[in-house]
């Protein structure tokens, strides 16, 4: 920086450390709670250091579940979340790739119409059409199915716009060269466009996986059976209104398990994550 002051750098470091501590505190506390006995937590006497029930709690959470309302073990919920997040991410990328390809590389009647049709879905989030969409899904018999959980969320204006923008930067000479070599549109797509789009696809996957994993409203509407619910909605049912019955150590272990996959994705693929986040907001 401009000035060199002896203690000048200490204050920013201090503020940042306090900030990080505040941000991390709720998660730390959740972890601590997941290692203690339920009675200690219920008494409000929980210490701020880990207890000795880590393995016991996580074993029960993953394989057995709470003894209360939802008896479904968290492993089932994790599996459902994983399926939902992956299918949504892959599906969104696949259908956006091909529709952007159609819009950019072909000239056909209603091209603009198709593009605008996809674009306008940005203005129709699930929240503004909750019950009519629910009705469509139930009429199609898709309640409590993976198809119902994923297909309605698979359209993506953002991803289509992003791929369209990216395809625009691919030099036209490449198309011409492929044409001379006798490659058709499908060949060109697989041999040239797809390999070039690798980074964009990867960074979009990171963002969309998190998006799919964190969905709340949609799985809440679509699933009625306990064995179909995702971890993000399953956790809500573990919190019983009369506090005494809530098994907080299991709720907190579930919260930790629900955070681990998406947080790992963000931390391990930080570069792709940042790129995806910045790109998809353009």
């Amino acid at each position: 920086m401009v000035e060199q002051r002896r203690f000048g750098n200490l204050v920013p470091h201090l503020i940042l450390c306090i900030g990080i501590a505040i941000v991390a505190f709720p998660v730390y506390l959740a972890f601590i709670a997941s290692t203690h006995e339920p009675t200690i937590i219920a008494n409000g006497q929980m210490p701020l250091t880990p207890g000795g029930h880590f393995l016991e709690t996580y074993y029960r959470t993953i394989f057995v579940g709470t003894s209360g309302t939802t008896r479904e073990p968290v492993s089932t919920m994790l599996f459902n979340s994983f399926v939902m997040a992956s299918v949504i991410a892959v599906g969104k990328i696949a259908i956006s790739l091909i529709s952007a390809y159609a819009v950019v590389y072909f000239s056909f009647p209603f091209r603009k119409t198709a593009f605008w049709m996809i674009f306008i879905t940005l203005m129709l989030p699930v929240e503004v059409r909750i019950y009519p969409t629910y009705k469509v899904v139930s009429d199609l018999g898709l309640l409590d199915t993976y198809a119902g959980l994923t297909i309605p969320l698979i359209a993506s204006a953002t991803a289509t716009l992003l791929f369209r923008q990216f395809f625009m930067t691919i030099p036209d000479e490449l198309v011409e060269a492929s044409k001379i070599d006798g490659a058709g549109p499908i060949r060109f797509f697989f041999d040239t466009v797809l390999p070039l789009s690798r980074t964009t696809i990867a960074s979009l996957f990171v963002i969309l996986f998190i998006y799919g994993w964190n969905q709340y409203l949609w799985p809440l509407l679509i699933t009625t059976r306990d064995d179909m619910q995702t971890i993000v909605i399953g956790i809500k049912k573990m919190i019983v209104t009369s506090d005494a019955l809530t098994e907080w150590q299991i709720v907190m272990a579930t919260a930790i398990l629900a955070m681990v996959p998406p947080v790992l994705v963000v931390v391990l693929m930080q570069k792709l994550f940042v790129k995806g986040l910045v790109d998809s907001e353009k």
Binding site: I98, Y105, Y131, N214, I233, V263, V274
Partner: protein, 293 residues
């Protein structure tokens, strides 16, 4: 902006567009048009007869005092979430930007909450604020606050705002940091030579140059507070106590779940649709300006 080199083929482009267009038609346009259509209909109590009532549902909606209360709640909630998360993120980003070393470490340590689902954030914070056993609730009790979010609407609102803002800090931090690092160092050095102290430099030079980022984040945060916080509210308070934390989106959700008033619920959806369209329009006008900037 069209490509010069274009493939022929009549059916192929339609085939490529088909999946996306089909999904948007079935799950976006049809339900949305249903919502608009239903907002003009009135069903009798047994669902036997339906009348076309023009704008009666809207008139009914806007003549209810509690709808205005929900609007006020939404405004207070989104303002608090936006201001809290933006200002904390800006402070942290400004501090991280001054570090030559450790900048990326701080970034890693601050961005992960983005990956936490709003509903999970709600669960984490309700655990801390649980009146009987929460750590923070005990602390507040210790300093003489009669903390009870189950009965006190202000307490419930504070709790929901904190959880929602907590989750959004990482996103704002990331964009503020990127914005700060894009400001040319020479401008700041020039100001330093002129004798401007760090605090003054921040407000007269850095902040104005950062305003496009800030404006963009403002819109994104409002959208977040309006629409994506449903999970936070549902896990923490379910809109209570006494609807003190009921936002517009939560109201559509909970009114419709009871299933009593289809037309009224649809009218609420249409009002929300108009809000989204307005916010998106603002966002895109701004992006256009950034491109030609």
């Amino acid at each position: 902006m069209d490509k010069r080199a274009i493939f022929g083929g009549r059916l192929l482009p339609y085939a490529l567009l088909l999946p996306q267009v089909l999904v948007t038609l079935v799950f976006f346009y049809w339900p949305a048009s249903q919502a608009v259509w239903q907002s003009f209909l009135l069903q009798d109590a047994f669902g036997l007869a339906t009348d076309f009532v023009w704008f009666d549902n809207y008139v009914d909606l806007f003549s209810r005092a509690d709808y205005y209360r929900t609007m006020a709640t939404t405004l207070a909630f989104s303002t608090a979430v936006t201001v809290a998360s933006l200002s904390i993120a800006l402070l942290l980003a400004a501090m991280a930007d001054r570090q030559l070393r450790g900048g990326t470490v701080y970034r890693t340590l601050l961005i992960w909450p983005y990956a936490v689902a709003p509903a999970i954030a709600g669960v984490l914070w309700i655990f801390m604020f649980q009146p009987s056993l929460g750590v923070l609730a005990r602390g507040l009790r210790g300093i003489g606050v009669d903390w009870n979010p189950l009965l006190n609407g202000t307490h419930a609102m504070t709790m929901v705002v904190l959880a929602a803002a907590w989750k959004q800090i990482s996103y704002n931090f990331l964009f503020f940091l990127a914005g700060l690092q894009a400001i040319p160092k020479s401008v700041i050095e020039a100001a330093a030579i002129d004798g401007a102290r760090p605090f003054r430099r921040f407000w007269t030079i850095i902040f104005p140059l950062l305003s496009p980022t800030a404006f963009f984040l403002l819109v994104v945060n409002i959208v977040y507070a309006f629409f994506e916080t449903l999970g936070v509210i549902d896990t923490m308070t379910s809109g209570g106590p006494g609807k003190a934390t009921e936002t517009l989106v939560y109201r559509v959700f909970s009114d419709g779940r009871l299933g009593a008033d289809l037309g009224g619920s649809a009218a609420q959806s249409v009002v929300l649709m108009i809000i989204v369209i307005a916010l998106t329009a603002v966002q895109f006008r701004y992006v256009e300006r950034k491109v030609t900037y």
